[in-house]
């Protein structure tokens, strides 16, 4: 077969480390990434004949551009990069009970632009006047207290990058037939932001914690009054009353003017539009910790209070809908995360799990945050079964779907963290399959 320009390997240190063209991550660790970009770009360019259009000076070079704007928005050419909203979630008779998803397959790095953060609400997004909003702390405390926003703004703050993942994310993984869709469609109840807020322990201590208090109940002031019970250890640990998201005040869809942030724990517990915290002896057993967000096991029992989101990863490039464009050099890339700490390593297999290559992890590698991984790959154009497998700092390893279903059955509905498998066809088409 004749060589195309793409088949020329431009790297002196490209070392195959696993089957079907997976190369050593060293290429991306040693500053080779720049060249990797250049190489794939040259591959693309050489595939397209230089058009007449490219040989003219574009209009925007010949007159001054638009003047300054108070709040910037993406280029109009980026219009397809939007949250994935299902019709049902917005439809009569219960608009606002449902979700929209982050288009993870179209994003880079680890931070989700605030306007693309996934939405999950149980009765729509309230339009809260911050001046009229109060946070009430009561129950097993010495002195019940109310805080307005102005006073909360005067407390010391912390900032941290954390993912929020809905406990029902990737729920299609439990289905008999593999779901069809983008990474965003299947795994997009996942986003990552820099959150800034007041450590919750300041406020609880100020109210005076009764030693009998072992849990808190956190409640939102949306129309569903969404509420969850949280153990006191977490409330006094890394929990924060988040006020800022990616540098600006939290978006309405994420809980404006304040939300509870419980790093690494089920998205649902990060109560939005937070207005009340009650210290209690035990859990309250609300609807969303009994009927929902409990894990039905094959023996008919249900696991309750399974709070941390387990170690997980997904390849976003390539992925279903983000198809291959002919044989040659590619960067495999995606997200890894764990609700139990930092990501320690991500391995990639291009032969259905028989051989693995360790991916390069992109800094920052933060605890309970999305971590970007990358691996160089020379695709020979043959059919490939591509997978990623994450390991976190506790040593927990992302299970295969078979392992997960082996222990949890198929009626679970929550906490799906099985390995995602992409079947890459010779045509370049990428399909989600069960391995």
């Amino acid at each position: 077969m004749a060589k195309t320009p793409n088949e020329v390997t431009p790297f002196a240190d490209a070392e195959p480390v696993a089957a079907n063209g997976l190369l050593h991550r060293r290429m991306f660790l040693s500053g080779g990434a720049f060249f990797a970009g250049a190489a794939s770009l040259s591959g693309l360019l050489s595939a397209q004949p230089a058009s007449a259009q490219m040989a003219t000076v574009p209009d925007w070079r010949k007159e001054p551009g638009k003047s300054f704007t108070p709040y910037g928005v993406p280029s109009k050419f980026e219009e397809p990069v939007q949250r994935l909203v299902t019709v049902r979630a917005n439809s009569y008779p219960s608009p606002g009970a449902g979700s929209s998803r982050t288009p993870l397959h179209l994003l880079e790095g680890i931070i989700t632009p605030s306007g693309l953060h996934f939405e999950r609400s149980h009765s729509g997004v309230p339009d809260i006047d911050p001046d009229r909003h109060r946070l009430l702390i009561h129950g097993l405390v010495r002195q019940p207290l109310v805080f307005d926003l102005e006073s909360l703004m005067r407390y010391p703050r912390v900032s941290a990058i954390h993912f929020i993942e809905c406990a029902g994310n990737s729920g299609g993984g439990w289905a008999v037939q593999p779901p069809v869709g983008f990474v965003g469609t299947m795994h997009g109840l996942l986003s990552c932001s820099e959150w800034t807020g007041v450590p919750l322990h300041y406020l609880l201590e100020e109210a005076g914690i009764d030693p009998k208090a072992k849990w808190i109940l956190a409640e939102g002031i949306d129309a569903s009054g969404m509420s969850r019970s949280v153990p006191i250890e977490k409330a006094l640990g890394d929990a924060m009353v988040a006020l800022f998201q990616n540098g600006e005040r939290i978006r309405p869809e994420q809980g404006y003017p304040m939300r509870l942030l419980l790093p690494g724990w089920e998205g649902n517990m990060n109560v939005k539009w937070l207005h009340r915290i009650k210290l209690t002896e035990g859990p309250t057993y609300t609807k969303d910790e009994t009927s929902k967000y409990t894990e039905l096991m094959p023996d008919g029992k249900s696991m309750q209070f399974t709070f941390p989101m387990e170690v997980k990863s997904v390849i976003t490039r390539p992925s279903e809908g983000v198809n291959m464009q002919g044989p040659g050099f590619y960067e495999i890339s995606g997200f890894a995360w764990s609700g139990n700490g930092k990501i320690k390593r991500v391995d990639i297999s291009a032969d259905g799990g028989a051989s693995w290559a360790e991916a390069a992890l992109q800094e920052p590698i933060a605890s309970r945050a999305l971590t970007r991984f990358r691996l160089p790959w020379q695709w020979d154009g043959k059919e490939v079964i591509l997978q990623s497998r994450a390991t976190d700092e506790t040593g927990a390893v992302q299970p295969t779907r078979a392992e997960l279903i082996g222990t949890k059955g198929v009626k679970n509905a929550y906490h799906y963290n099985g390995i995602t498998t992409w079947e890459i066809r010779q045509s370049g088409l990428v399909k989600n399959v069960w391995a």
Binding site: Y92, P93, S94, A97, H122, S123, R134, L136, I137, H138, Q143, P144, L145, V146, F147, S151, L152, R154, Y155, P156, H201, Y202, L203, E205, E206, A207, I209, P211, L217, E219, A223, S224, G225, S227, P231, E233, H275, R276, K278, T280, G282, P283, T284, Y285, T286, K287, T290, S291, T294, L296, P298, D299, G300, K301, S302, M303, Q304, F305, T306, K411
Partner: protein, 178 residues
């Protein structure tokens, strides 16, 4: 026990005292005492022991009218589900090979959760619009639809926490502190 102090380093303290000396300062205390009225207005959560359940009572017989008028359109006349969740029957289907129905009757461990939830969130299009009496009535009917209570059983603050839900003992607490 958890007496956190804000430690300000020498940089901030330099104008106050001696450069390099650390000061122990209490964090701000800017919460104001919560008025009893405010707590009463918002404290609507009901744990399994029924603490906080309001006065009022109803039977399923009385609840039928409330349910048909305020709930059935979305959840079906027998709670079998319509545009929204199935909320009745399905008892014994949790391990069914063919189809599992997780409903109030088949799945929920505590009847108190039903009062808590319906009062705070239902009917979806008009939350907080039912009187406490109507909430007791609607949930009595929902429980009756799964044959968990009888048609003329009185549901109130005393009897509700005592209702034994079929799936109560099937939940395992997976949380361990630390």
């Amino acid at each position: 026990m958890f007496g956190h102090k804000v430690l300000l380093g020498g940089m901030t303290a330099v104008a106050l005292v001696v450069a390099g000396a650390a000061l122990a300062i209490d964090p701000p205390k800017l919460g104001t005492p919560a008025p009893e009225m405010l707590i009463r207005l918002f404290d609507i959560s009901i744990p399994p022991d029924g603490t906080g359940l309001p006065a009022g009572q109803a039977t399923a017989k009385q609840g039928e009218a409330v349910f048909m008028a305020r709930c059935a359109a979305c959840h079906g006349e027998r709670g079998e589900g319509a545009t929204n969740d199935r909320i009745a029957s399905g008892i014994g289907t949790l391990q069914d090979e063919v189809q599992t129905f997780k409903t109030v009757g088949s799945y929920w461990p505590y009847a108190t959760t039903l009062f808590d939830y319906v009062r705070r969130a239902m009917p979806y299009n008009a939350p907080l619009s039912l009187t406490d009496e109507e909430v007791y009535a609607a949930i009595a009917y929902v429980l009756f639809l799964s044959r968990i209570v009888g048609e003329t059983d009185v549901i109130d603050a005393k009897s509700l926490p005592a209702v034994k839900m079929p799936n109560r003992d099937a939940f395992i607490n997976a949380y361990t502190p630390g």
